[in-house]
Amino acid sequence: MDRLAHFFSLALLVIFSADVLALESIVVASSFPKEVLVAYKKAFDERNPQYRLEFVNFPGTNIIPFLTDRTPGSRPDVFWSSSPDSFRALLRHGLLQTIGSQGNPSIPSKIGSLNIDDPDGFYKGQALSGYGIMWNTRYLSARTISPPGTWSDLVKPELFGHVVMSSPSRSGTTHLIVESILQGAGWENGWSLIIQIAGNCATITDRSFDVPNSITSGRFGVGLVVDFLALSGKYSGFPVDFTYAWPSAITPASIGLVTGARNSEGGLKFITFALSKEGQSLLLRSEISRLPVLPEIYASTDRPADYPDLFDVIKKHPSTYNPDISEARHLVVNAIFNQVVTFRHRELVDVTKAIQSAERLLIKRPHAEAGVLIDKARALIYRPPVSEKDELTTSPQLQTRAHIAAIAAREAEWARQTSKNYVSAKKLVEQALAMMQ
């Protein structure tokens, strides 16, 4: 026993002294999957032996509370994420330091109408992301379902229970998908589409990674994802495919230096590395598969033949997405989705299933009154609980206790209303079914 005690105390001593002698660390807050982070860490640490790159992983949408919960000096140095809203929000909360003109001059600051960098030099574009649908080819062909082409295809009854998506409050890229639909299709129609898609979902996953994971493994058939999460699976050899969808957004994944960073110098070093030719070419690796913003990388021959091209993607998919609108209502959109979809998913799926089977019956046995009832049920549940003009969605506010309490009060209201709507809609559909029997 004595020997054991000695061993433990020795082990602890070694560990703690190792920690004290540790290299200068650079902490990067990022929502990217492990594959991306591991590749960048390995490459950066090899070239910069005086530093040790560390990551802290959480959804990009949660960056504001993460930073405000920590005082300057306790914060990560760099924020690296696909979510343009988060960078806007950071700016408004004064949580970014300017990088100025540092970075890679060969990266254009604007491609077409798309700003790659922040005009005031607070953050830089590091890769491009487009959004769309991925599917498992084996899963769909086993069920003879044709691959969907755009968002509205995802509401088809044949896809009921085969779709999977994440929640915008837990995934910055899902937030972007939701916002691009809301901005492209309009608030009311957009929400209707989103809630219908969610009704077809088998589950709402906790993080964005669970979506591509479920599709690559063939657990579910179709998922809403950012392009690189799908492409990395495809180029790693899984039977999956991807298409950009409309209305979509092409947005830069950005990188910026956090106010109150412990190691600004090291942080800047990592930012420069991520924008350098080396950092950009890492993006082409099959397990990463992102679109670099450095044009010369596309000339390289070591990418797959059908790898999307930056300029092509921008040309083909004109973006209707405005990050300022998105940022202003960021918390509210998340809160609506959670109260109407995430926390009520079981009920939503239940009613969606009932509506779809009633509609199938309606085609076989047309019945005018029953049709009206089903339409009423649809109108009850596939709509946002609040208007686009509501004060909450139009006036961006700082995340204070008062603002959070105000949202919580509205959340309670939406939750009660949603519960009631699901019950009433179910009753309406049951009445319609009874009429058609």
Binding site: V27, L331, F343
Partner: protein
């Protein structure tokens, strides 16, 4: 001096942070008590539903694991099949492996993408995520079932032989079951059930990996990550969780307060050859259980060696590279786990010993109240403690290293130690009670001072008990994902359980995460085996191990 240290520790890492958190939920910006936040919480049906769901799932998991364990333990008892000490130790494996690994494994194996799930998909959907809330209950019950079963067999097996003799004297087996087995097993059962209840209530990663959000822990976590620790509602939800755990712990202690007399350790028959019938019973039941868990973990085991596995019964191609990746990129997390959990467990044993001693010295009237009070107060769920720490330690600097305390790894082992303390106190008080008063008195009479008595007599006699306490606290800390998810300053500081969680979030198969999970299960089993080899030299250990798990306060 020791008591001053104890008071500072408890104040800084438990009372003040949790107190601040409770106040945060109950006061407005000016610091006045208001009921506004409670009204807000009650106004949203989601929170009320989450409260009921949490209670239901945690109680359901505890009852379910007990219902499954009781008949098996009864049969084993009836046929005097005593599992080997190694198997008994393996019953403690659930304490060292996070339950979300089981959830993910079942998703892989029973989901539509492969293996059994794919085979049966045209008849029924076996994916645990589809079932939702009941899945959480089932998975937690399944995860903690071996623990409940082993605590039960360990409490009752000492009286196997007497029971047989009593039966041969004319007392029927049914009567023996109800009159002897059940009362004997109750403390072990209550202990196992209370761990299942508390851990299920606090579990974050399992419900989240199944897409279940309407439970207290996920609701508090989702709110605090979306709105920050200033959010009054997450403070309130966390407070609610503290109250529920306190009450549950209190209830479990009431159950096990009767003292169980243990047979003299030396008379534990070490090697009695089993009859053929006994062998059949033993192999059927224990083998069945082993098969069940092998199937349950097959998903993760196969994924850890699969290169491409997508909508086929079994993986298309196999590789071992995931293990290399896991070892290469995550070896630091094993060291972190050793460091944090080791540090936390050492602290627990020291503090637990002091508190147990204080309780032991207290007047008899106070004893029970002190035990209840101390352990009830200490059973703070991980999510709640993490929220409390985020609020309380915001911006406080550590003087020597000039670093903010919330940016260092320091809070994590402290949270672990606070969470392990109720278990350490019980372990230490049982060990203390086991020291014959006559030895101490004899030393006293011969003129030794208290310190020498402690060093020369008390401590050596407690070594094994303390080691067991250390192991238990270590295990509980090793799987404490709920606090790690909120308190971790960077992935480099992550313990293994959190590294498994992060590595499972990959887009190209869950190979590395699965490999890491299998590695950690293998490592724990190996450590338990080594422990067994170490303690087998002395049979006393077995008795005190058993004693520790079942005796009351």
């Amino acid at each position: 001096m020791l008591f001053a240290f104890l008071a500072i520790y408890l104040l800084t890492f438990l009372v003040l942070p949790v107190g601040t958190m409770i106040l945060q939920g109950l006061t407005n910006n000016e610091g006045k008590f208001v009921a506004d936040h409670i009204k807000l919480l009650l106004a949203n049906p989601v929170y009320v539903e989450s409260l009921l769901n949490s209670l239901g799932v945690a109680a359901g998991a505890a009852v379910l694991s007990a219902v499954a364990a009781l008949p098996i333990a009864m049969v084993l008892w009836r046929y005097h099949v005593r599992p080997s000490v190694f198997i008994e130790l393996c019953g403690f494996l659930p304490l060292f492996v996070p339950p979300f690994v089981l959830a993910l494994s079942l998703q892989i194996f029973f989901g539509r993408g492969g293996a059994l799930g794919m085979l049966f998909q045209s008849y029924c959907d076996l994916d645990p995520a589809i079932l939702g809330l009941p899945s959480v209950m089932l998975i937690e019950a399944m995860h903690y079932f071996p623990l409940v079963l082993m605590t039960l067999t360990m409490t009752t097996s000492a009286y196997n032989q007497q029971a047989k003799e009593a039966a041969s004297l004319g007392s029927g087996w049914f009567r023996l079951m109800t009159r002897v087995f059940l009362p004997l097993g109750m403390p072990g059962l209550a202990f196992g059930m209370s761990i299942t209840f508390l851990k299920t209530l606090d579990d974050l990663a399992t419900p989240l990996s199944l897409g279940v959000t309407n439970l207290l822990a996920p609701q508090a976590f989702l709110r605090v990550s979306a709105y920050g620790s200033q959010d009054p509602l997450s403070s309130l939800i966390a407070t609610l969780m503290v109250v529920i755990s306190g009450l549950a712990w209190f209830a479990s202690i009431r159950f096990v307060r009767q003292h169980v007399a243990f047979r003299n350790a030396s008379s534990v028959s070490a090697s009695v050859l089993l009859s053929k019938q006994q062998m059949i019973v033993g192999i059927t039941f224990l083998g069945g259980i082993l098969m069940l868990y092998a199937t349950a973990y097959a998903g993760v085991a196969l994924t850890s060696i699969a290169r491409i596995w997508s909508y086929t019964l079994l993986p298309e191609s196999y590789v071992l590279s995931h293990y290399l990746t896991a070892i290469h990129s995550e070896r630091g997390s094993f060291i972190n786990t050793l460091a944090y959990c080791g540090f936390a467990a050492v602290l627990d044993v020291v503090v637990g010993l002091v508190m147990a001693y204080a309780i032991d010295c207290a007047p008899p009237v106070w004893k029970r109240w002190l035990t209840w009070g101390a352990t009830g107060l200490l059973s703070v769920p991980g999510v709640a403690l993490a929220i409390a720490y985020l609020q309380f330690f915001r911006g406080i600097e550590v003087p020597l290293i000039n670093q903010a305390i919330d940016a260092s790894w320091f809070l994590l082992p402290m949270a672990f130690s606070v969470r392990g303390l109720p278990f350490a106190i019980r372990a230490c008080s049982i060990t203390l009670q086991g020291i014959p008063a006559s030895y101490v008195e004899a030393a006293n009479i011969s003129g030794r001072n208290r310190f020498r008595i402690f060093i020369k007599i008390v401590l050596p006699m407690m070594t094994v008990g303390l080691f067991v306490a250390f192991l238990l606290c270590f295990g509980l800390a090793a799987v404490d994902l709920s606090s790690a998810m909120l308190l971790i300053p960077s992935e480099t500081n992550a313990p293994v359980s959190y590294s498994i969680y992060l590595n499972m979030q990959s887009t190209t198969g869950r190979g590395a995460g699965s490999a890491l999970a299998i590695l950690s299960i293998a490592l724990v089993t190996l450590s338990l085996f080594t422990l067994l080899v170490l303690i087998r030299r002395d049979w006393k250990t077995v008795s005190s191990f058993r004693k520790f798990v079942f005796t009351g306060s």
